[in-house]
Amino acid sequence: MALPIAAAAPRTSLLQTREALRRAMSEEMRRDPTVFLMGEEVAYYDGAYKVSQGMLHEFGPERVIDTPIAENGFSGLAIGAAMAGLRPIVEFMTWNFSLVAFDQIINNAAKIYQMTAGAYHVPIVFRGPNGAAEALGSQHSMAFESIYAHFPGLKVVSVGTPKDAYGLLKSAIRDNDPVMFMESEMLYGMKGEVPDEEFLIPIGKADLKRDGTDCTLVTWNKQIHTCLAAAEQLEKEGISCQVLDLRTIRPLDEQALFDAVCKTHRMVVVQEGYTFAGVGAEIAARVTEACFDQLDAPILRITNKDLNQPYNPTLEKMVLPSVDRVKDAVKLVCSRGKGA
């Protein structure tokens, strides 16, 4: 067999998102003995969504820890462990359950560095699936980016591809501040190429998932894929959209937003979660404040309809962002300012 002559392209593997997340956690746990994983069903059950499959076998029950159903208690415990010098990864079976731990996350994790004037910090990752899956009903379908991004002292990451999931989770684990790391049930089985060589993706950097000239779609997590599908269809109709994946909600990559709007002069934010006081509203305000003269049309938001999620799958789809709703919004902003 002849050896390859040309320099090989970086080797990659096709990984599911759950495999990419698992690889990130496992590598970090091998690298740093203070890193451990804790949550409901993460050990013997191999994870409710099999993200931690096999990790108990490799790391043992001291580092892959099943908790009782006590989110307030184990979240607070993990925050204390982080103050004491460990680096916990806390899995919420879904971010919906984080509300039970809200006091611990907001009043303790987000504030301890400030309240102690820097004497203690909280290097912790809370992670789990976020947003609607399929027909999970009212209490298992919320998106939490805007909730946690509201608070100084927290970082909020929300990923939509295996590669980003891997690179950002590693950065989150190494970060000395509390990181809210949001995944999606719908993407755990989605495959994507991930370089075999270790890499990190910095928190706070957006990523252009598709280039375009007429309108910028700002999005994150699984709505990336809605936006990419919409952009593809719009291309055939003569409208060129770029898709900017924020990846991190807080700290917000304002420069990427400003650069995008200076290029396309039109912007639509596509997000899950409620409209009112959502991340889209924050983005629209900041971009308008900084780049008003660059805008040819108001920034529009495609969000969940402003109501709680119904169970019925047809009704559920009506509530969530869709390719058609995104296309309509793009056409609307592109119809304004033309020929001016």
Binding site: G80, A82, N107, A117, A119, P152, K155, D175, N176
Partner: protein, 325 residues
Amino acid sequence: MGDPSPSREQLLEWYRQMYLIRRFEEVAAKAYTQRKIMGFCHLYIGQEAVAVGVSAALRATDVVVGGYRIHGQIMARGVSPRAIMAELFGKDPGVCRGVGGSMHMASQEHAFWGGYGIVGGHIPLAVGAAFKNKYLKDGGASLVYFGDGASNQGAFFEAMALAELWKLPCVFLLENNYYAMGTSIERQSAITDLARRADGVGMKHWQCGGFDVAEVYDNVAKAAEHARSGQGPVLLEVLCYRYRGHSMSDPAKYRKSGELDEKKKHDCLLLCEDHLTPHGVGEADLAKVREAVDAVVQDAYEFADAAAEADPALLYDFVLHGGTS
């Protein structure tokens, strides 16, 4: 290990510390009425034996977590009266640079984690410290102070359940002063011997008196030893009493008539004097101790009063740590 007969020096030191806390709090109360201390100010007067006994029974490296009535607890841990008073005044040399205030004072050097204003919300943190002790097998233990009011919170029960499940070396120190703000123990709990709360998770628990510093010391030492030995956490209910209101704005009209005077008969300083008498320590010796403490507290007051205000330049310094591992 509890020592049933503490030495003369030990007793004198405890007396000094208890009197220091009391005098400090009296001066803090004065400064509050002068509006030099703002916001909330929860005084520890009456409960001094608890903090002093606790601190004597723990190692300097054991993590201690407090609630919102922490002036005495952090002082017993060794933080200087100057640094605490300056914090209450919101001044730059305060133990938390004037950022924390009365309820949020922490010192890494003294393994005192603060200072938390959400009743009961701090209890799981101490269990986390104990989790680290077990994870690293470093022989440490943690202790968390909270009150009878906090013993109604879900965080308290969840923290106990986890600590016992994993046999973590944590002492849950319940200071039962009989009032959650203005709500008496009978009006807030169907059981009034609160140590029994631990029965539901199978945790070891007992009660002790909180006026005699030697008794507190002895019981906390036993509890810490139990926790450290790997046998699991302990809920230690210490029966105590606060002489002042819940906070500076509370005249404490909810007390039963004569209740305060009855409690003061068991004042921690009087009981300590009783312990000292057989050692030949008389009123003249104690007066000297008190005089020296009065000077220390006056110095703390003057220091805080003259100190620079919290530095506006640090306003954004404590939002995020910013580092990585």
